[in-house]
Amino acid sequence: MDSEALLECVTSMSCLVTQTSTGLIVGSLLFLVATGLTMIFGVLGIVNFAHGSLYMLGAYIALSAFRLTDSFIIATAIGALGVGLFSLFFERFFMRRVYGADVLMQLLVCYAFILILDDAVKIIWGSEFQSMGMPAYFQEPPVFLAGGVIPVFYIYLIGIAATMAVGLWVLLNKTKIGKIVRAAAVNPSMTSALGLNTSLIFAGVFAFGGALAGLAGALAAPVRSMSPGMGFSVLIESFIVTVIGGMGSVSGALVGALIIGLIRSFGSIGFPYFIEGVMFITMAAILVLKPSGIMGKETR
C-alpha cells in the first residue's frame, strides 16, 4: 500500500483531475453494462450471466457495421439494435422457459449461450483479435483540464453515459412506461391482474438491457481490441458493480460503477498489486453489511 503516493496524488490538482476523470471513464462503460444487468434482475428476477457475451456481440456487430458504413454513429446504433434484437430472441425462446426456475437453471442456460456465442463469434469473425481503430473525427489531441489529460473520445463516452443515466431516470420516474416497468418489478402478478401484458414488459426490458450491453460494446470498440471470450472480464466487473450498488437499482449501478472506477484509478497509484483484491473485498463487505446494496431496498 503506497499511501504516500496516494496522498501526493490527492493533493495535486493535475493528478486529482486525471485520476478522477479516469475513474469516470472506466465507470461510464461499466455503468451502461451494469444498468442492463440490474434492470433485468430488478424486473424479471433473472441474473443474466450471458450479459458479458451480449457486450461482446455489440462490439463485433459494430465492427462489421463500421467497416461497411465508415460511420461510427451508425455502427454504434446497429450494434445496440442488433444486440437488442438478439436479446429479444434469447428471452422469448430460451430464458422464458426458465422463469421461476432455480437460479442454477438460469445459470445453465446462460452458460450454454456463452459457449455458443463464443464459438459463433470465432467462426464468423475469426479467432484473431480485431481492432476497429479510432474513427477520424475523434482523432483530436486530448483536452487539458487543470493540468490533467482527458482524450476527446472519452469525453464523448462520459457524455453518452451521463445522457443515458439522465434519460433512464426520466424514463423510469416521469413516464407512463417507466411507471409500468417499475410496477412490474415490484409486483408482476398484480400488474398482470390490472390488465397489463407483463410478458411484453419482460421481453421489452430484457431487450433493452441487452441493447445497453451491446451499446457499451460498440462504444468501447474503437479503443479495445476484441477477441472471442472477451465477455468474461466485463461480466465479473459488472456483477461486482450491481452487487455493490444494489441489484435492481439503476442509481445503484451508477454509484457502483463510479466506486469501481475510482478504486481502479486511485488504486493503481495507492495499491497497484491488489486492485482486484480490494474490489472483491468491497463486494464481500457490502454483502455482509448491507446485502441489498448501497442503493438497494431491503425487500427484494
Binding site: 426458465v98 432455480d102 442454477l104 437453471m105 445453465l108 442456460v109 449461450f113 459457449l115
Partner: protein, 322 residues
C-alpha cells in the same frame, strides 16, 4: 437412522468398489484408468457441492475454492516437506475445513443469491491471492516441478494403476461417508432447514450452526476431490479455483439431478464423458457442449436422476423420500 438400510448401502458400495478395483485386471486401457481417476475427483467434488445445493438449499457459486485449496495445500505440503501421502492428505483436508469454517461463518448468514455471490467473492479473492503470490504458489503457472509421491502401503502413486486404485477407494469411501452424514439425524435436520428454515428455528434448531456445519463438510470433501486431481496432474493450477471450475461442479449437479444422492456422480460422469468425446471429435466444442446443456436445461428441465425418479414415481404411483 436405519442401521439396516445403511449397511445395505455399505454393501452396495463394497460391491461397486470391488468391480472398480477389478477393472484394471481385465482391461489394459489407460483411457479407462485416467477417466476413473478424474471421475473419482469430480464425483466427490460435485457430490460435496450437492450437500449444499440439493440437501441444504444453499446455492454456492464459489465451491471451487475448496477444490483448489485441497490441491494447493496438498501440493505445497508434498513439495516442501514430502510427508507420507496419507498424512499430507489429512492435513490438506484439515486446511480446507478450516478455510470453510472461516468463510462459512461469514457467508452462511446470508440469503440465497447474496450467499451465492459472497461465496463467489471469497473464491475470487482466493484465486487472486494464488495468482499474485508467485513466489509461494507459482502464480499463474501453478506449482511447478511436480509433486514427490513417496510410496506407501505398497502403492506407488506415480504408477497410474496404483493411483487409480487409490482414487477409487478414496472416492467410494468419501461418497459413503457423505451418504452416511446425509442419512443421519444431522442430514435430516439439514433438509428440514432447506425446506423451511423458519419452521426449523421455531422447533429449536440452530439454523446457522447447521448450515455452517454443512458448509464445513462440503468444503472438506470438496478438498478431497482437489487432492486426487493434484496427484493426477502432479501439481496444482489456479484454474482449480477459478469460477469456471465452480460452474462445472454446478452443471454436474444439475445435469445429474439435485434431488438424489447419486445424481452428481452421474452428472460428473456425463460431463467428463461429453467433454472428452467432443474435444476428440470437433473443434467447435463450444457449440456442441452449449447445445447439450440447452437440451438438459430446456427439454429435460431436470437432471437425469430426477427424470428417472419422477418417471418411477409415476409408474409406481407412490411418493419416494429423497
Amino acid at each position: 437412522m436405519n442401521v439396516g438400510s445403511f449397511s445395505r448401502e455399505a454393501l452396495i458400495a463394497a460391491i461397486v468398489l470391488s468391480i472398480l478395483i477389478a477393472i484394471p485386471f481385465f482391461s489394459d486401457s489407460s483411457a479407462i484408468i485416467d477417466f476413473g481417476i478424474r471421475l473419482a475427483a469430480f464425483a466427490v467434488f460435485a457430490t460435496s457441492l450437492n450437500m449444499l445445493v440439493g440437501f441444504g438449499g444453499m446455492v454456492s457459486f464459489g465451491h471451487a475454492l475448496y477444490f483448489g485449496a485441497g490441491a494447493y495445500s496438498f501440493g505445497l505440503i508434498m513439495q516442501h516437506f514430502a510427508l507420507p501421502i496419507p498424512l499430507a492428505f489429512v492435513l490438506a483436508v484439515a486446511f480446507c475445513a478450516t478455510v470453510a469454517a472461516i468463510v462459512g461463518a461469514i457467508c452462511v448468514r446470508l440469503k440465497e443469491i447474496y450467499f451465492a455471490f459472497l461465496t463467489l467473492a471469497f473464491q475470487m479473492l482466493f484465486h487472486s491471492i494464488i495468482i499474485s503470490w508467485t513466489s509461494f504458489t507459482g502464480g499463474d503457472q501453478g506449482l511447478m516441478g511436480g509433486l514427490p509421491r513417496p510410496p506407501f502401503l505398497g502403492l506407488d502413486l506415480v504408477n497410474p494403476v496404483d493411483l487409480y486404485w487409490f482414487a477409487v477407494v478414496v472416492g467410494v469411501v468419501a461418497l459413503l461417508l457423505m451418504r452416511y452424514i446425509l442419512q443421519s439425524p444431522f442430514g435430516y435436520t439439514l433438509r428440514m432447514v432447506r425446506d423451511n428454515a423458519d419452521r426449523a428455528k421455531f422447533l429449536g434448531v440452530n439454523v446457522w450452526r447447521i448450515r455452517l456445519f454443512a458448509f464445513i463438510l462440503a468444503g472438506s470433501f470438496g478438498g478431497v476431490g482437489g487432492i486426487i486431481m493434484a496427484l493426477l496432474v502432479s501439481g496444482a493450477f489456479p484454474e482449480f479455483t477459478y469460477w469456471t471450475m465452480s460452474g462445472e461442479a454446478v452443471f454436474m449437479v444439475l445435469m445429474g439431478g439435485v434431488n438424489t444422492f447419486i445424481g452428481p456422480v452421474l452428472g460428473a460422469a456425463l460431463l467428463l464423458g461429453f467433454n472428452d468425446f467432443i474435444t476428440r471429435v470437433t473443434d467447435h466444442h463450444g457449440l456442441a457442449l452449449g447445445g447439450i446443456i440447452l437440451l438438459f436445461a430446456l427439454v429435460f428441465k431436470h437432471g437425469i436422476t430426477d427424470f428417472i425418479v419422477q418417471g418411477w414415481q409415476r409408474v409406481a404411483g407412490k411418493k419416494v423420500d429423497s
